[in-house]
Each structure stands twice: as C-alpha cells, then as structure tokens.
Amino acid sequence: MTDQQPLYRAESDPDWNTVAAGTARVTLHPDESAPEVIVVSGPCPRCHHETVHAEPLITYANALDGSGLLARLLLRRAAATGSRDVEVICACTATHPEAGERSGCGASWVLHVEWGV
C-alpha cells in the first residue's frame, strides 16, 4: 500500500525536533560512564514508523594511526563531557514512494542528548 505512505523527501522541520524529543528512546552503549555509541529509537515524527539510529562517539577507523589516537583521545574527552547533538534520519523499513534504493521517508530531526546529568 505504498500510495498511502508519504513520499520520500529529504527534509527537516524544527517542530519534528520537539515531537521526537518526547517520543524518542535514547540509550548509551556500552555504558553511560564511557559511551561509544548513542542509540536513538522511536517513531519518525513524519511517517510515524519505528526507526533506529546509532550515532558513533568513538570510532576505530585507523586503530594505530597517531593522529587517529589523538582524535580518539579528543573524542573520549568529548564523550566524557556528556552532550551531543544527534541528527536522526528516518530509516524505517516501510516502502515510501520515490525512495528508490534509500530507506525511510527522508525526514530528519535533531535531538540534544545529555548524559551524566
């Protein structure tokens, strides 16, 4: 029933930020004392389908690179400070017209996540 789904559009609306802040479930992994990834799940404020987004705080792109080590140290400090703006892009599994190979409805919204509060 794809004609009942909203068309795929890469767009954002500040109102969606407020709606999603009330409905999103946010967890830090592996734990809140030394988080490496923020997982945001909940309904898309546009198409209302469930979606999940993983925001990396620590990456291991080049595990032995000197600058990578420095970047990771800086990232660890950033992770320790306890806040991050996370932009979530809808990645629901529903079929949206004009989505092509892309998943979701194209909507994005921004959440401000604080931990250690």
Binding site: N17, P30, V52, A61, V110, V117
Partner: protein, 207 residues
C-alpha cells in the same frame, strides 16, 4: 547517571550530510579493523619466519663451548621468543578473523549494536597485543642469537696427555711424528717423546 533528551538546533544541509555519513561509518568499521589486522598478521609472520631462518642457519652447534649459564639463558630466551611469537600470532588471527563462540542471541537492536562495538574494540585491542608480542619476540630471539655468538666461552678445546710418570699436560696439539709429539701449553711449545706418553684424550677446555 541519567540521559536527558531535548529538541536540538534546526537541521542544516551540512548537519544532514554529516548524519548521512555517520550512518555508513559504523557499518564498515569492523571490516576495516579486520583488514588491518590481517595485513599485520602477514607482516608479523614474515618477520618471525626470518628469525626461524636465522636460527636454522646458525644451528645448535653454536652452543658448543658456551658456559652453562649462557646455555641456560639462550634456551630461556629462545623459548620465551617462541611463546611470544605464538601468542602474537594468536592475537593477530583473532583480530583478523574473530573467534566464534556460542552465546545468547541479542534480544534487541541495542544489544546487537553494543555487541558490534565491543567486537570492534576487542579486535583493536588484539591487534595491538599482537604487534607488541611480535616485536618483543623479535627482541628476545635476537638477544638469544646474540648470546650464542658473543656469549662467554670458558676455554678452548685441547688435548690432555698423561705421562708415564703420572704428570699431565693440557694444551693444543701442534704436531706428532714417530719420535713424539709437540704440544703448546700456555703459549710455550713442549716436546714429549713417544715413550713417555701414557695416554692422551681430547678435552673441551684446559684448566
């Protein structure tokens, strides 16, 4: 600790692009780390293969003449190097290929993502351990080989001759003919007639 979620700043094209990119960042991470580990594994294997070749070429005969303490030290160093090399190879292969084990299936996507992060972290840690063990093995085996070349050798092998009067001479055999033999004892060449020679044998070193 608590997590607080509020509405963020409005999205911009740049922030949207970054969010798009970060989606792919996690996906290829484990594969990248494993590819690095596999390359390091091959490099470390070549390095340790070189050590093996050197060890075979020199062989156990280089231990001849070494003092007992030096022999023991060489043995310990080579054994230590072997164990370090084996450990390094194991860590490198575990980083490159993982180690399947039976575990409870993840009940939620969060658990799955957490497990993936931990897997990547473990692979990075294993890779670092492998490199440390590999270079440490190189250093230890090099020390062992160095000791076989330059280790203390208490004395040179020689000949001990017991004369018919009961006295003994120990030194380097210079020459021998029908009349007798010539032996160098402490830089002095001495001649011993055949009739005075009671017995003779080679010894690893003279006192």
């Amino acid at each position: 600790m608590a997590v607080r979620v509020t509405a963020g700043a409005p999205s911009t094209p740049a922030s949207r692009s970054r969010a798009d990119a970060s989606r792919g960042l996690l996906a290829g991470e484990l594969a990248r780390v494993r590819a690095q580990a596999e390359n390091w594994r091959n490099g470390l294997a070549a390095l340790l293969g070189l050590l093996t070749a050197v060890g075979i070429v020199k062989g156990p005969d280089t231990l001849q003449g070494l003092s007992g303490g030096a022999r023991g030290a060489v043995g310990l160093l080579l054994l230590g190097g072997l164990l370090l090399a084996a450990g390094g190879a194991f860590f490198a292969m575990r980083a490159a290929f993982g180690l399947p084990r039976r575990r409870v299936a993840d009940a939620s996507l969060e658990e799955l993502l957490t497990r993936e992060r931990l897997t990547v972290r473990r692979a990075v840690r294993d890779l670092r351990r492998a490199i440390a063990a590999g270079f440490l093995a190189l250093a230890v085996v090099t020390a062992g080989i160095g000791l076989t070349w330059y280790g203390p050798r208490p004395g040179e092998p020689g000949v001990q001759i017991v004369l018919t009067d009961g006295s003994a001479l120990c030194g380097t055999l210079v020459g021998m003919d029908a009349k007798g033999l010539r032996i160098r004892v402490k830089e002095v060449e001495r001649r011993v007639p055949s009739g005075r020679v009671g017995s003779a044998k080679s010894v690893p070193s003279c006192p």
